[in-house]
């Protein structure tokens, strides 16, 4: 069976690119080298077979032309459409999506607003001292996961990049490194740690602030216990950080989604900046979906801003808290939505899903999902990284090109959006 090597996995922000896939009879048969979650993605699942149009309670099969035409009518008629998702498709799709949002004068946003959007906001306040993953592989002797659980969410991260792997200056791999995990519970990742620090929920901000005080020589203002963590453990951690040769903090939803959100991240980044006075340190967000980073990159170079971009004025207006997807949904402001490569009906708070279900909804995705269940138009697309090529950006912003492994009859997200854009321009008389 012919094996395709150096396949780029299209699941999470690790973007592992050494996957080996056996293809036979135009189908993926075996996947080697990927983690359990990546393997499931590449092997595939039952999928949408045909475009669908809603008639009452049911979704009925139709042609691509009918679906795209109806979708264009919905979006062109909307006064404030929301174009959301984007993180599970390639950058080539994003470019068409952003142009479409500009033509429609809509709000375009990606999953970062429920993932590392707060990180972006913190970065816009203090910056981001970071590196690519290979710097960790080759130099890091102190690895900290804070509010992140790579064993479950980024399966190959520790093996390929951050802990187990050997590097130029770390030839013994894990033996050359210390692993610290900070979390509210003993996750699967925490069980691997040399040091596990348990923080009370919503208290990470205090713990980070305490660490900064200690690092900067103000340990005397720190109480005996902070956020459930005894002071001596924090003093110990601060010392480890200051004396590391190269330390890195990987952080996740534990910091972005708990109370204080971007303020947590601002503290974590500031802690790393403080540590620069003593040694080399870096901090990196664990990006979730494989191309959430890519959308933020494309959106930034094309509109000037990374997500939650409102184009109603004809230029980009960026104000998360006002222009993010959950904002316009919870305020019931959008009157139509286009969801591409994402599943907000599964991942948004119920009250936002309620409004999403009420308004005319167009969904472009290979798979049936809670979002397709409430849609008015469903357009199936090819699976990027398996059936379609394109660009994706890893969590450390390294861009790679996804491969096409098999032929498909499904249109790609890019093709669907281009046709949709064409139809919209026709309706608006802008051809």
């Amino acid at each position: 069976m012919p094996t395709v090597t150096d396949v780029v996995c299209p699941l999470c922000g690790c973007l592992c690119d050494d996957i080996r896939v056996e293809v036979e009879g135009n189908a993926v048969k075996k996947v080697r080298g990927a983690c359990a979650v990546g393997r499931a993605k590449i092997l595939g699942h039952g999928r949408l077979k045909s475009p669908l149009l809603r008639e009452g309670d049911e979704l009925k099969e139709c042609s691509y032309e009918e679906a795209i035409k109806r979708a264009a009518e919905i979006l062109a008629a909307a006064r404030r459409p929301l174009l959301y998702g984007w993180s599970c498709t390639v950058c080539e799709t994003h470019k068409v999506g952003i142009l479409l949002a500009e033509v429609l004068g809509g709000v375009i946003d990606n999953t970062a607003s429920v993932c590392h959007g707060p990180t972006v906001q913190a970065v816009q306040g203090v910056g981001l001292p970071t590196c690519t993953l290979g710097e960790v592989k080759n130099r890091a002797d102190l690895v900290i996961f804070w509010g992140a659980n790579p064993v479950e969410a980024h399966g190959n991260h520790m093996r390929r990049y951050s802990y187990l792997t050997k590097g130029w200056f770390r030839p013994e791999g894990k033996k050359d490194r210390k692993l610290v995990v900070v979390d509210v519970r003993e996750s699967r990742t925490a069980r691997m740690a040399d040091i596990f620090i348990r923080v009370e929920p919503n208290k990470d901000y205090l713990v980070l602030a305490a660490l900064r005080a200690i690092v900067n020589g103000f340990a005397d203002v720190v109480p005996e216990s902070v956020g459930g963590v005894p002071k001596e453990r924090l003093v110990e951690l601060a010392e480890m950080m200051k004396t590391a040769q190269f330390g890195i903090i990987f952080f996740g939803m534990g910091l972005t989604q708990s109370r204080y959100k971007h303020n947590n991240i601002e503290q974590a980044i500031s802690l790393v900046r403080d540590l620069y006075a003593f040694t080399k340190f870096a901090i990196m967000p664990m990006r979730g979906h494989y191309n959430v980073t890519g959308f933020n990159q494309v959106c930034t170079w094309q509109t000037g801003f990374p997500f939650a971009v409102d184009l109603a004025r004809g230029y980009a207006w960026y104000n998360p808290g006002e222009t993010a997807a959950n904002d316009v949904l919870s305020r019931k402001e959008c009157d139509a939505a286009l969801i591409v490569a994402s599943d907000p009906a599964a991942h948004f708070p119920a009250e936002c899903v309620k409004h999403l279900a009420k308004i005319p909804l167009v969904v472009i995705d290979p798979y049936p999902s809670p979002t397709t269940e409430i849609a008015d138009v469903v357009i199936p697309s090819a699976v990027c990284g398996v059936e379609a090529e394109g660009t994706a950006y890893r969590m450390d912003k390294v861009p790679l090109r996804l491969r096409k492994l098999v032929e498909t009859e499904f249109l790609t997200d890019e093709e669907i959006l281009e046709r949709l854009l064409d139809e919209v321009l026709k309706i608006k008389g802008l051809q």
Binding site: Q124, L133, E135, F246, K280
Partner: protein, 564 residues
């Protein structure tokens, strides 16, 4: 295809020795031709200055750190908001404009070629994606090749042949234009939070920046690349660094150029022309640098002039950016790139109330005015480090008008009279010299004059800028206005700007070099070293590293080395 006849303009075409002659320019099928038929569309350029399209040899407009700069600064994004039109996409930004604004605004200034001077090879794909989204202008990018572990090892062992093989492989893999060097050795040392002066050995790799520079210069000439090495020297921004600068230039005095050009292009030299020993006695040494450049033929420079105002600094000089952050306490982003390079980004305000900034502002102009031969000077602000490219018209008007300089000097810090040279300089650039520094020199140093750029001789690309101003005009304000919004910009024979508005948005081409290294045995050895790097140390696979053709949909390929 379309014929154009530009009539009665006053033409400045330095490469062809045209210094302000009234003449017609004929265009057909995107090229300059001898004559056109009576069907040609006539553009009346009477009373206007006509020049080849501008060539910016060093401007940070596309790639990882540029985008990190945009993301870092939504406040900059909000400064330049322009709604979409029937022709143009929405625009944003001032010092870090979005890619569409970059293309439109450069075109409106009459520029038609941009060189992105620093791409980390691992992220080359990103730079190409942004270049693809930069409309109208032709463009290229240079990979950073001086802190790469392969380079460090070959420079240490003195193996110029293997280094040349590696450079060739990298330029091809990144679809790049030439060899970029930024704080050689120092950015690798920054991986451990250290830095290197010219003679300091890089930690672990035990090779000095001086050795790296010499080896890269030789490898560059060995491959006979169109451009020379393009160098951001060590100790950028530090008081007293001019000595390092001159020592650096001396390193390659004896290197034989493989083409009729310089052996080293030194970039944003303003930042490297500092005297004094600390910020308190900081002073201009532009005269020392200018003297050296006057006396030697192997070095060319670009200004990297500072413009007063807020901007965003971004370079691959990680340690220098960190120090700038320590100075200002403003936000700071850093990104080290495995096995290759790094970058730092922080906003900066050059204020005329601050002594040091005032001297910096003076130095950029001093270099332009003290170097006698304009063919050794390219006009840049190292956008956005010294200032945004949109300030070029202001810079040019200051260089052309002593009166204007004196007006501004009255408003800045009085230290300019003590520790800078600008008040003593009477020289004013004329239009010919301006055309040399913005068209002639940049095209020649890059080797682009052999590929249709920077001149209007028969066969050249029909890239033309028409400015509504008489060459006799001396008023700085009028000069600025005319240069900011061209009366016409023509790109590849198509009118893209008319009366300061963008009217067409063709896609430009990405220029890159395809270089062949012919010694098969050496090539094999280099490849085996490279494969080991990927297998053991990189986090991407060798097969996924090279930039695919999909990222250069409109390529212009220049062959070099054994491929020529």
């Amino acid at each position: 295809m379309a014929e154009l006849l530009i009539k009665n303009g006053i033409v400045f075409d330095p490469i062809n020795g045209v210094k302000g002659e009234k003449m017609d320019i004929c265009i057909k099928d995107g090229k300059v031709v001898e004559s056109v038929s009576s069907e040609a569309r006539v553009i009346d350029a009477s009373g206007c200055i006509v020049m080849p399209g501008g060539v910016d040899a060093h401007t940070h407009v596309a790639g990882g750190k540029v985008n990190a700069g945009r993301l870092l600064r939504p406040e900059d994004g909000r400064k330049g908001l322009e709604p979409r039109t029937g022709v143009c996409r929405a625009c944003s930004g001032y010092s870090v404009p979005n890619t569409f604004a970059t293309g439109y605004r450069y075109a409106k200034m009459g520029y038609t070629f941009l060189m992105e001077p620093a791409m980390p090879p691992l992220k080359a794909r990103h730079m190409h994606e942004e270049l693809m989204d930069t409309p109208i202008v032709d463009k290229a990018g240079m990979p950073l090749l001086d802190n790469n572990w392969m380079t460090l090892q070959y420079a240490k062992s003195g193996d110029v042949e293997k280094l040349a093989a590696y450079i060739a492989w990298m330029i091809n893999a990144t679809k790049g234009y030439g060899v970029k060097i930024v704080n050689p050795g120092g950015t690798e040392a920054w991986g451990w939070r250290k830095n290197c002066g010219l003679e300091d050995p890089v930690p672990y790799f035990d090779v000095t920046p001086a050795e790296i520079i010499k080896a890269l210069a030789e490898a560059n000439e060995r491959l006979s690349l169109p451009h020379s090495i393009h160098l951001h020297a060590n100790r950028l921004g530090q008081p007293g660094n001019y000595e390092t600068t001159l020592k650096t230039y001396d390193l390659v005095k004896g290197t034989k150029p493989s083409r009729k050009r310089q052996v080293m292009h030194a970039t944003h030299v303003q930042f490297h022309s500092y005297g004094g020993t600390n910020w308190g006695n900081f002073e201009s040494k532009a005269d020392e640098i200018a003297k050296y450049v006057d006396q030697h033929e192997h070095v060319t420079i670009d200004l990297g002039a500072v413009m007063l105002g807020d901007t965003t600094t971004m370079t691959a000089d990680g340690p220098m950016e960190y120090n700038l952050y320590l100075l200002t306490g403003r936000k700071w982003t850093n990104c080290d790139v495995e096995l290759e390079t790094g970058s730092g980004i922080t906003p900066f305000l050059y204020s005329g109330k601050v002594a040091v900034n005032t001297i910096q502002w003076a130095i950029g102009m001093e270099l332009a005015l003290l170097v006698k031969d304009p063919w050794k000077v390219v006009l840049t602000t190292d956008h956005p480090n010294g200032g945004p490219f949109i300030t070029y018209p202001i810079l040019i008007s200051l260089l052309m008008s002593r009166k204007r300089r004196e007006e501004v000097m009255k408003e800045v810090h009085s230290v300019i009279n003590e520790r800078a040279l600008l008040p003593t300089i009477e020289r004013e650039l004329d239009w010919y010299e301006v055309a040399v520094m913005t068209r002639g020199t940049p095209a020649k140093i890059l080797g682009l004059h052999e590929h249709g750029k920077g001149h209007l001789g028969v066969g050249a690309d029909a890239d033309v800028a028409i400015y509504e101003i008489s060459p006799e005009e001396t008023d700085a304000g009028k000069i600025q206005k005319a240069l900011l919004n061209a009366k016409y910009t023509i790109k590849g024979g198509e009118v893209v700007v008319k009366d300061g508005e963008v009217v067409a948005v063709p896609e430009g081409r990405t220029f890159y070099v395809d270089v062949r290294y012919e010694d098969e045995a050496v090539w094999k050895e280099m490849l085996s070293d490279l494969e080991k790097m990927f297998k053991e140390y990189y986090t991407v696979s060798l097969a996924n590293y090279p930039v695919q053709d999909d990222y250069v949909p409109k390529p212009y390929v220049i062959k070099a080395g054994a491929a020529e």
